[in-house]
Every structure is written in structure tokens, then in C-alpha cells.
Subunit: 256 residues, 8 copies
């Protein structure tokens, strides 16, 4: 329809309904404003129910409310990340169907059910302390329409727990590993499979962990190849990256 | 064939050719040694010509030679990364068909031509100083059988160069962005597309660049989602991660 | 009038109203105390209404109050930065006309209206979370008598928002870019214009953002030239630097 | 003339010499490629002789040569930064008039004399060890057409040297301070004047200097306002930032 | 008994009660799940009363309660580390015999008395501020069945206090040194003895202590050999490492 | 008197009142315990009223109370550093004459008036935000019997304030400079005098100040010689170091 | 024999062969000089052949030669660490039986054969690039009389290699793990055993490895307990720590 | 004589030999240039032979030569620090009496013998690798006229070496401790004495030593009070600081 707008303009010029100068003027800045080239959204093309996302950290409650009010006018699902329980109480007033996932600090407002993908995402986590981030990843992915499996509490301190669940690894198309402390889980998982592994370091730990730096460096320096790292505690980002891969997979399934 | 080995063993037990005790003994440690469960190699299943890889940094020339001599007995292609020109001279004596890519510091020995994938990888880089890493990524991906396009010298200091080449971005399935200095390229690219972006910070820069730390932090903290980061200067790792995604795509194409 | 003081002293010596020894004594330490050479204030020379500034962080409420009481005896405008709402409540008792800008944490007391400059400052910011710092810059600049425009929420994750507003960039004489997360906005803006760009990294972000370090390094290492960086979250400092440039511009306009 | 191209295209549509579809096609990607909006170059508009710049670090000699050969076809002056003496020897073969400044590691090829600005830049430096960076700044600024003064070896260890030269500070429009070790010079200078101060930390020092980090942090945290900081050892960047300010000044002089 | 399971399976094959295919299937993943090879627990083999451990940091009270409820069904002792007083109140409801050590933040539930080892562990600490970590180490070791001595408040600022207690050092088999500030105690102790010294840096200090980094680096760089370092404030880890050594000693005593 | 103890012991041996073996036994560990060689306290030798010191940070109120109760049995003055107001309330109950200095967080209990030294210490500070640390230094020094002068709010942003008070610098024997932000004050002061300058970086600042790191590095890398640096915010340590110097001076005055 | 010296002295006093004063004088400083309390060397007590060690880094060749010449006068074995090949050439002139281990950079001079311990040390390493450090550890331990096994090239990228060699882990008394890159090997090994694990991070890696920092932090933050960490590349220190443990084991074997 | 200059000027005004305007003009900038207030040099007042100092690092040989040639015109002694052997060869041509201290990298040219102070400086160092820095300190102090004692190789790994030499500590007025690795020596020394201790961390070490950072942090965080720290490897700075203290002592001796 942007193309359409230019077409109309050109037709008007052709029909002498618009002078060359006037057309020139309209064209000058138009491409950036209206062509909408940025983020050609494959997701939305492919899938209904793909949500709008609000990152709540650093925004006041009234700012979040204002943004959400605007979004609620449309029919999109809404996903609010890094949301406190207090914020949820306030959101519920304007969106009574909103659901809150406390550990993952997510608010979800589902207006339209999103069909799940055929491709599968596995979220693997080390210890129970990593649960908040792992759930942020799993629930976000689910909200993005991804089929999600969970394999939790399989840290390398007891590697038999991971090895006893190789089927999970084998059946996934994409794997997210969530781990704090030293974050060695990502290396071990990537050493066992040959598929994309997204690594999320968490800030779980203390002392020389330096707020997740230890796990971050571990994942960036892994001796096992095939790992893409996201920011510390960035469960959302991992899920989003997974969704870009999986939606390519869904497209590939259709195209052959 | 490992399965086969266990099958034979069980058959022997069944046929009383082997005592239960003796079988038990053989079985005890076997799974780890021989089942070969680790790295169920989708790549090799899918594609002939998938190379063996040697990381040359920190190995002496004679160590590399010894490993390569062993590999040459088989029919696999061979890819040696971080290889100096001197090393190449020595390798050439035992592998006369070896080719050297100086800027990318790669040695390739191709025994079997690998068919290129249908899915496409785009390698985007900022400045000409990032060329070495960008080429490591592009050539590695190519050696792994990936169809590769290059879009170089499109740093954000002159953003029209990137915007004038949106077609490249739109046609790729996976994008690798290679950038030093402040590494902002990854954010801009990920803001323009909705597909997996693999970001490689390079050590190009000086002063408060701290050997690539600036670009690394930029990429990890990108305000644009959908970015998986690898280690500084790790062109190989980016290509390998891309290959895990693209081979999932190829499988998806087949499976539908 | 300092010159005048020395002149008087010399005249007294000449007229034998003061002995050489006594004059010598007075002169010895005088230059540093009284010549007032430091900060020859072009600002005040050029513009009435230029405010006195109090940096409130690390000062107790009673200390701020004491300083302000002193300042209120003169006719200058007063600008208090990093001021909490509680502090404002207290200030209001001694300065009932004081106005508080909550997001920017600024208190302003305007006794004299300051005429705006002909030159224009543009404050550009990435996300809504950067608002506090952007407003500290914009409001400070305004209090310093600068004509200010704002272009907010144009982060590089959706670069069309920035590109659709090139007019703003083209019409400014000086640009302040305020950005957290990875801070790539500064590079993109400086790549689009050829005028002084002042970059303010913000502490917005988490994990490997390390309290604004990521954005700071990005801005220092920008591949685009023409950027001067100030401290993390230092909206005031950016505005002040902008004012030194713009007041040079105003002088140049007058001088020709 | 880009405007002209669109005008021609529209006229052709109007005259039915081009179909709407064909025009649409040409227009689609055109703005980014051809409108040349990026870096509307005030410098070139204002001043002949403004040079093309090559950053030589991380480029091979043959790459620099190739770029320069291309540039030499046009009539622009050329400035090559971070150039080794060896590189200069090679450059001289294709550009016999090239001049080399060893301490500043700059190659200059002047085809057209650039008239100096009315506004004045002062380059102040701490110790003789900072000379290389100070000269990179001064010579670059000069090559960009700026009138440059130098005030060297006035480090704060002997503050009378700086105080004895206040006239230099008072007569400049923009000041660049270059200092290594602890970099306190920038604070002292900015405390004495009320004009834009560009601070360049140098890597001069040892131990806990950490390659210039000490001076960088000093300059970013200055208790004196009005300082814009550039990367460690970035004499070029400081000069370029100064030139964006000074060319605004020159424009202001003309416009009034 | 895992061995037993495989034996039964093989016997069934032998007796034709199970087909080779079915046996093969069962065997495939079995080793990792059931052989229980990981952590062949010498401790439990050697000593009754060896406790189960819960690391409480980052777990919600209800999560700790759930884990503990499960553990209480068995007869093992239980040790909960990094436990707040609030948590203890809650634990006491389900385990009335639980004891709380406030400074060490430990909860202990002793169901079975553990006999103390013949080998001796000495816990040495610098200042009274290090007490919390020192006690975490001493009490943990004690709960693990180790004979523990304490030598506190012998920091190097008054080295005669340490030198006056050499007997303690001489009689221990393993020494844990706990120290904050600059952590020099570990070096001095290791210089006085020729036995394993486990060094625990604490986060006691301020400023350039950087949360224990100073003591950590001191201990890693000690000019005295024979020091193994654990994470900052990791009293538990030090005690656990000591227990692995001491239980080897107990075994050696038995074996001769 | 320790000498005396050994003398007695030897005399007993001589007089056959004690066997050689028994004497040997007593001597073995004696030197470390009783010779009291450590910290031969010149201070106490020289000056009555020299206080005992308690560092309160990281100690519980009851621990401080216990230590103080013990000290109160003797006639020494007592100085408690890093003491909160709450702690003071509690201390007052057992030591009603205790005085609290809120900004400096010091509790002092003076039982005996300490005569002031002839040598003079000057405490110089940058901004009013550094007051807490400057006062910790000044009051501590005073409690240690040092004659103290203060020169506050003379930061380098307005260097005339420092230069207008050169007399203070000239009359002191030792100077403590306290400064946050970029900490340049130490360099400027040390550049003006030729006497020992003790530099205390403070944690005053934000962003890339990194909790005082900026000022710390500035002071360690000063281009002016003659500076000894103590830990960030360590006003006490600076005063103590000053007292070691000044008490040497007092001794030198006596000895000639 | 020190005891003996005091005994003689006391006897002389008793026999009036020495005055009390003279004895007192001799005793005063004696304990520190002569009691030889420091490093009561269990090693030498237990085992002949225990070597003297020279750390060659930072010493000139002539300094090493001087130290060695002195040592050669006694009958001890000598071990020189961090020795270059050039140094070895020089050493060989004065010690013709000296042997050089190039990869481990060790020189050994064995004058007396040292009997191996009953307890066993296992040195496990990740990749072939870690060989230098692993061999420094293994050869040092061997020189210290320890029975050493090696298990190399079992990095976690192919975890089946480690799992296939569990026997090695099970049979050792102490384990040294040597790993660079992300250093996850230590965690996996410590998760598999219940015996002391000494972890040596190596500087093998690049980019965000930061010279071994990544592996160091991994090892300090391991989610598996029972790990003592030594400095980056400190193979010697790991072996020495192992020897302190193993010699305690040997003593325990004797004592029962 | 500066006072004198002003006196003359005033007298001329008085005698009408100079107009008030002319005098005013001369006075305006004079104080900073000529009063010579900076660095009122107690040293030179007190002692003949006090040398001029050249810091050679970062200066070219011809720059050093130029500076020295200028200095040689006067009768001062000259001390050149961080001087390479090559530089010395060149210096010797213009100053044949120059002496070179290779380990300390110092060139000394003594024109006048400087009498040694009564006060004594002790330089204590840890290992032989710290010799270069220790000697830079000791020789510099000696060149500054200080009486210097040395106590080398008394690192804390064998603390009896230090304790056996307490007399050295007791007899000094000021102590410089030079130590690399973990730098614990400073803490132990400051714990033993009650006099000013100047601590010099050295860059001796590897791995997590981070070029001297470990020792630096140790010294800044010492639990023993009375330590002033200088930059890593800054032997010169330590000696200079010591000289400022000792010259105060000499003055105190005279004044009484």
C-alpha cells in the first residue's frame, strides 16, 4: 500500500493532476516515512496472534498504561516484560483478561489464540535459581507462537541428569540454554548437538560472578561451536532470536 | 554400526557364545566410548563434503601437520583456521592441493565438492579493516556448503550505503554482521530485518575499544532484538552457528 | 574593577599615600584572589538571565537550602540539578516560585526571563527510558537561554523513525544524542550530519550494560567522526557544553 | 542534481515517456542510493580544499594505495592518518608531492590551498610525550582549514606555565586539550574558560594508567563543565569535532 | 544394583525371554539414566551422617520448604546455607529440631550424629568482620563430620598474634584461611606451613576492594605456593573442598 | 618489661632455680607471644592521649559494644570510625561522654586531653560533597593529636580559590587532599608544593566514576610527584599516615 | 639443632660461662632468625629427592646461574620453571645432566632418584593448546615425587571422551584439571567425582577470553563443589598444591 | 628576587619613572609568570646538589639529548629515569661523566656531591624480580641526598627473613616496600612498625596479576594503616615522596 501511494502520485503527475514540483516535494522525504521498509515483519505475515511487546523496566507505571491503552485499541496480543506485581495490579484495571507470570515477571494479554509452530524450541536450565530467566524465555516464546519444551535443573554439577534426557535435545530444532554461576551448561549442550544453541547467562551467583559476567564470558568463549549469546538475564531476547530462526523454518517448510 | 556392535553382543549372549558376566563387563563402559551419541551430526547426514576443522592457534606447526596427516587418510574436506602463511607453506608439502586465503588466514583442502544450500547467508561488514574476520566467516560458511552473499563496507558512518542495499538483507535467510570500532552495525541491521542476525565484534579499533570489548558490549546490549553474539573476531564461530541454522532450514524444506 | 583596584593602588604609591612595602604586600597574593581571571564568563557578558547552578547530589537538604538562600539575595536565575521531590518541597518554602521537573529532577527559579538564542540545539533520544536524561539536557539548555528542539524515541531499532525526521537534524546547529542500551544512536546521527554532536550515554539497560559502560564505549569508539562524549547520565553537562558552542555562535553572529 | 534526476523522471511520466510502473520501480530504492542525504557536507559547501581522509591503521599498504589512486583522480586534498614511515615511502611513488609528518603519523597531499578560518582553535598539551597526539590534532585541523595555535608542555605539575599563558586561552574559539598520565589538564583548562573544550586522553603513562584509561576517566568525570571527550589518542577525532564547531561559527559569521 | 539390572536383562536375552531388539532398545539410553556413575560418593560410603545440602540464595521460601520436605522423608542430616532468619522461622515449622547459626546463615537438621574425623581442619581468619564466612566454613566442615579448630582475629596487621599460635598451624592437616580487605593472611599462612591451604577471600572492605576482588587477586597471586582459592565469601565451598581432602586422608589411614 | 621477663628467667637458670629444659620450654614460643615487638608504638611513647581505634563497618552493634566495654576499662581515648547514628545511641549508654560527628561518622570518647603537635596538617578538599571524607580525616588527625587546618571547597573547576589560599599550603608540613569526581585536585596541589601530599579519592560522582575509581586512577597516575594514595573514602587511613609522618617530625624536633 | 643452640646458651648461663645480659642480647632477635619455624618441611622429612625450585621468569640468565651454582653445591635435585631454551643452553654448561622439557619450559637436574608416592595424581586437560600448562603440572608433580597419570584432550566440546575414561577419574586421589577457552572442564570433572579437584585456568583463547580471565571466573564460580583454583597458567602451583595434599596422604598411610 | 622585581616597579611608579598604565600592564600577567610561587622548592633551599630529573619514557633520544644539553649549561646534578642502554650510549657523548645503572634504568650525572641526610630511608623488597623497581627507588633517593638502606628478598613466603631483620625496620625513619605478585609485604611491614610506609606495587607476576593490579589493590586495601601507595613500578615516585618527608624531617631537626 505504500507502493500504492507512490503509484497514485505518479498517476496524478501523468494525468496532469499534480505538478512535477509538487510531486517532487512529496517524494523527497517520503521513502523513510512511509515505505515501511524497516522490519518487513515476516512474523506477522506468517502468523496471526503475534504480540506487541512492552519492555517495562525504566518506564513509569503511567507510561506503561498509556502505551497499553493505545495498543488495546487494536486486536493484537500484548506481552509486557520485566513487569512488577504492582504494575500488573494497575494493568488489570484497564485489561481485565491480563494474566501475570510472577517468576518470569511477564504480563500477557491474549486477544487471539496463536497457533503453535511445527518446529520445536527446547529451553534447558541449570539450577532452580535460573528459573525466572528460563521461564521468561519459555513463556515469551510461547506467546510468540513457538512450540516449547522445558528441561530444567540439569546443571553440569550432576551431568547424568542432562545425559539421561538426550531425547529432549535430539527432538528440538532450536535450544535455549539458561545458566548462571559459571554457565558451563551451554558448552556441554552445544557439544552434544549440532543445532543452533542460544545461550543466556544469568546473574545468579555471587562474589567473582560479577553479576553474570562469569557466565557471559564462559558462553562467549565456549570450546563448543554453534552458540549465539544474548545479554545477561535476557530471556526475552533469547526467545525472540529463537522465533526468528523458527519462523524461517516454518517458511522453509512451506516453500520446500 | 554401534548399535550393530551391541546387537552382536546380545546375539552372542542369546546364543550362549558369551557369558552374562563377560557381556556385562563389555557393556559397562561402552556407551560413552562407542555409542557416539555426542554430536549426532546432522550436517554429515545431510551433506557430503562437510569438512573436518583444525583450529591452528596455539598449536605448533608439527602438531597441525600430524593432525592433518591423520585426516588426509580419509576423504573429508579439511578446513584449517587461524593459519599463518608459514604454516601453509608447510601444509602444502603434504597436501599439494591446499589453498590459502591470506586475509582470512584459512587453509582449505577440498577433496569432494560440496553442493551449496538453497538457503542463503549474508555476511555484512562495516569497514575494510574488518575484512579479515568477515572473510573468515564467509569462506568458512562456504566450505560448510552454505550459499553465501557478501555486503561489505556498509558501516553506519554512511548509513545510505546500507539502506541502498536493502535487497541483500531481504533475500537472506540468516545474516552475519561483522563490525569493529563501536559495532553499531549489528543494531541497525537487526532493526531492519526480522531474521536471525549473528553478530561478530572485531578487535578493530584502539584506545577505549579495549581489543573489541566496545563492539562486544554494543552487540550484547542492542536495543534491536534477534541478535546472537559470538566471541570477538570469531568469524569461524559465526559461520558455524549460521550453518546449524541453515541445515535446520534444509531439513525443514525436505520434511515440509 | 579589579584592574581598577590595582590602578588605585599604584596611584596611591605614586601619590606617596602608600609605601612601596605596603603596596608590595597587598600585591603579593592579590592576583589569584581578586583578578577574577578564572572563567571569564562570556555567558554572562552576552546574556542576562544566565542561571547559577547547584548540583544537589551528595549534598544534604540543609546544605542546598543554605546555598540557595545565599543565591536568592542576588537577582540571578537558579537551576538545581539532581534534585529529589522531597528537596523541592523544602526549597519551595524559601523560593515559592520554584518549579520542579520531576522526570529531569530539576528545580528552576526564574527571576529574569532569558532571551532565547538564534542558534538551535536539537536533543535526540533513543527510547522512552532515556527520557529523564534527555529532559535534563533539554530543560537545562533552555534555562541557559538556548533555543531547544526535541526529537525523542527514534532509537536505531526502528531507524525509519530517525530517517523520517531528517529535517530536525538539518535545522539544528548543535545536536545532543541521548541513548542507553548499546548507544548506537550517536553513531547513526553523526553519520547523517556534519555538525557538532554531543553524545550522552545513559545507564538504561541491564546485565552487560554495566551501568552505562556499554553505551559509553560505543560513543567513544564511534566510526563516525564529530562526536564529543560526556559522562553517563550527564544531561546537564551535555547542555552546558552545547551552550559554550552556541554562545560562541551568537558572538560570531554579532562579530561577523 | 539528485533532485534533478527525480524531476526528470517525473517529467517523463508526465510526458508519457515512461510508464507509471517503470517509474515506480526506479523510485523504490532510489532515495537511499542517490539522494545523497547523508552527511550533507557543510564543510565542502563552505570551503574549497576540504580533504578526503584515509584511516590507515588495519589496512594493508596495497589497500591504502588503491584507495589513494582512486582519490588522486579527483582534485581533493588527501589526508592519511596513522600512517607509518614505510607506508609513506610507498605513497610517495604515486603522489610525489605527499608530505609526511612523522611524530603525528600523517601523510598530506595538498592539491588546492585551503583558506584558513577566522575562528581560532587552540591545541593545549601536557607533556612532551603527548606531542604525537597533539600534533595529529593540530595538523589535521590545519588540513581541514582551521586556524590553529599551539600551547604545549603546560601540564598541571607546574601550573604557572598554564597560568602564564592565559592569553592563548582567551583568544581561542575552541580548545583541544591533549593529556596523558592522569589527564587533569582538561579540568583545569575548562575551569579557566567558558568555551568548548575538547579533551583527548592519551595512552602516555604506565601501570595503573591502563593504556589511557586513567586520563579518559578523569576527563569524563571532570568537575568542570563544558568538556566533550573523544577516544584515547584520537587527535584526528578531536580536530574533526573542532572543525564541525568552527564551520558552524564561520557560517554564523556570514549569516549574522 | 544397576549392574544387577543389566545382568537381569542379559539373562533374559540369554533365556530368550527378551528379543535382541527389545534389549537393544532398553540398553540404548540406559547408562546415563541409571548407572548412577556421577559423583560416586566416597563420603557417603565412608561416613554416616553426611548431610544433604540446600543452597538457599535465589530460592523462594516455599521452594526451600518443598525441597526440605522431600529430604525429611529420608534419614539424612540436612544443611541449608545462605539462609535468612525469616527462612529459618518457616523451616522450623516443618523441622522443629532445626538449629540456626545466625552469623553463618546456616540451618542444620541433625538426624544422625556424625563421627568426627581423625584428621584436623584449622579455620584461620583475619578480622572479626570475616566471622560470618569463617563460621560458614567451620560449621559446614563440622556438619560434614570434620574435626575443626578455629584460630580467629589473627590478621597480618598484628602478625605476632599469628606467630604466637604456630601450634595450631602445625597440628592441622588442612588449613582454611578466611580474609577480606587485602587478604594477605593466606600468603603468610602458606609461607609458614607445608600443607594444603584453602583460601577464601571475603567481601569485607570498601572502595578499591571492589567487593572482594582485591583479596581474591591477592590469594590467586600469592608468592607462597600450596594455595587453592575458592570464590569470594564461599565458606561452604572451602569446607567442602577440605572435606574431599580429609576424606581421602581417612581412607588412606584405613588402607595404609 | 618483656626483656625483664627473659632476664628473670635467665637469672633463675643461673641460680639453678629453673632447669635448662624448663627454661627452654618457656622460651620456645615466647618471643612471638610476649616480646611485643610488633608495632613498637612510637605514638604512645611520644604522646599521651593517643586513642584506641575501632573500625565499626561490618561489626554488629553488640560486637562494637563488647570491644568498647573492654577498652573503657583502661584510660585510653577511644575513636570509633564508620559509626552510624544508631550505633552512637547505643554507645552513649555505656559511655555517656561519647561525642558523635555525624558527617564524618565518628564517635569519640576523650578521657585524657591530647596535646597538639607543633607540626601542622592541612586537609584540602574539592567540593562540599567530599565533606564527609575530609572531616573523617581532619577529626581523626585531631584525635591523634595533630594540629589540623582545613581548606575546603577549592576544587580545580575554579582554580583561583586554591591559588588565593597558597598560604595554607605553604604553612603546612603535610597535606591531605580529598577529592571525588576526577580527583585532579591532588595533582594541582602536589604541583604547587614540595611536601608530602596524601591523596584520598572519594566515591563522590556517578556514571563512569565507578565508585571512586576515576579519582583513584587520577591520583595514582599524577604527573606531579610526591603523592601517596590511600583507598577510596579512606579519610581515617590518610590521617593515620599523616600522623606517622608528623610524629617522626616531632621526634626529629626533639632529637635535632 | 636450633633448640640445641638455645639449650647450649642456657647451659652456659647456668654454668656462669655467660652473663645474663650477654645471653639476653643473643636471645632477643634469635627466634626469628634461627628457630627455623617457617615452613616446617614435611616434604623433606618424608621424602629424599625433593627438589629446590627456581622460578626463572623476571630473572636474568646470570641471576639464575648464580642461584643454581649455589644449589649445585648441595645434593638436592633442582627444578627450574618458566625457563627458555636459551636459558637451558646456558644452564647446561654448569650442569651437564640438566634435562629440558620444551613445551613445559622446565629444566630438571636430578641428583637423587625420588621414590614415587602410593597416592595418585591425575592431570586432565581440555585441548592440545593447553598442553604446555598441563605438562608443567605433570612434570613438576613427578619431580616432586608424585605418581602421575595424564588424561589429555578431553574437553567438554566432546564430552564422550571424558565419560569414556571415567576409570582414570575413579582411580586418582587428587585431580588437576587444566583448561583454557571457557574452562568448563573443571565443573564437569568436579561433578563426576568426590575428591579434591585443583583447577588451572590457561590463557589459551582470544577476544573476550581476556588472557585467561574467562576460564578463571568459570572455575571460581563452578556450580560443582570441591574445586580449588590457582592462578592462570600456574601449572607449577597446581602441582605443588597437589603435593601438599598427597604428602598428607602418605603420612596418613603411615600413621593409620 | 621576584619580590624585588615588583618592588622596583613600584618604586619606579613612585618616582614617576613609570606611568600607572604601564605599570598596570606589566603587573597584569606577571604573577603567574614570574612570582615563581609554584613549587616553592624546600629541597633546593635546604640542600645543594638536588638534581634535575628527566623522565625518558615516551621521549625520543634526540628530545632527551636536547633537554639535557640545556640542563648541562647549569651546575645541577641530572637524573634521567626509564633510560635504555641505547639512550645512555648517546647521552655519554655529551656528558662523559654520566653513569648508568642498568637494572634501575637510571642515568646519573653528578656535578656536585650532595650531603646525605641524617634521617634514614629503608627500601624493602620481596623477590629478586622486584629488584629493578627497588633499585630505581633506592638510587633515586640516594641521588636526592637521602641516606638509604636496603633490605631485599624478604618476601612473605618466608616471613622469618623479614622478622630476622627487624633492626632495619626499627632504625629507619621512612620505609619503601617494593613487591609484586600479591604484594602482601606492605601489609606485613606496616603491621610491624609505626612510621610512614610507602608502597610500590610492581608488575612482576602473570595471569590474574593483570600487570601489577593485584599488588596495587592489595596495598590500597591493606588492613594495616599507615601506607601511602604510588603507581605500579613507580620506584622514582616512591623515592620522591620519601624525600618530601625526609626533608621535612631535616627542617624539623634544624627548627627544633
Amino acid at each position: 500500500m505504500n507502493k500504492h501511494a507512490i503509484q497514485q502520485l505518479l498517476t496524478k503527475v501523468k494525468n496532469n493532476e499534480l505538478s512535477v514540483e509538487a510531486a517532487l516535494n512529496e517524494l523527497k522525504d517520503l521513502p523513510f516515512k512511509d515505505l515501511g521498509f524497516a522490519k518487513v515483519d515476516n512474523h506477522r505475515d506468517l502468523r496471526n496472534g503475534f504480540p506487541e511487546v512492552i519492555y517495562c523496566a525504566g518506564k513509569t507505571a503511567s507510561e506503561v498504561e498509556a502505551i497499553m491503552t493505545e495498543m488495546l485499541k487494536q486486536d493484537n496480543n500484548i506481552l509486557a516484560t520485566r513487569a512488577s506485581k504492582e504494575l500488573y495490579q494497575q494493568v488489570k484495571k484497564i485489561a481485565p483478561t491480563a494474566v501475570y507470570y510472577e517468576r518470569a515477571r511477564l504480563i500477557m494479554i491474549e486477544k487471539e489464540v496463536i497457533a503453535k509452530t511445527k518446529s520445536k524450541l527446547l529451553v534447558v536450565s541449570g539450577g532452580t535459581s535460573d528459573l525466572a530467566v528460563a521461564e521468561e524465555a519459555a513463556l515469551t516464546a510461547s506467546a510468540l507462537g513457538i512450540k516449547v519444551e522445558r528441561l530444567y535443573d540439569v546443571g553440569v554439577a550432576g551431568i547424568h541428569r542432562l545425559l539421561g534426557n538426550l531425547d529432549y535435545l535430539n527432538e528440538a530444532n532450536v535450544i535455549i540454554t539458561v545458566a548462571g554461576m559459571e554457565g558451563a551448561l551451554a558448552s556441554v549442550v552445544a557439544g552434544l548437538v549440532d543445532k543452533p544453541v542460544i545461550a543466556v547467562p544469568t546473574s545468579v551467583g555471587y562474589g567473582s560472578n560479577f553479576g553474570g559476567l562469569a557466565a557471559l564470558l564462559t558462553m562467549l568463549n565456549s570450546c563448543a561451536s554453534g552458540i549465539g549469546v544474548v545479554n545477561i538475564d535476557n530471556g526475552f531476547g533469547a526467545a525472540y532470536l529463537a522465533s526468528t530462526i523458527i519462523l524461517q523454518l516454518e517458511k522453509a517448510r512451506k516453500e520446500g
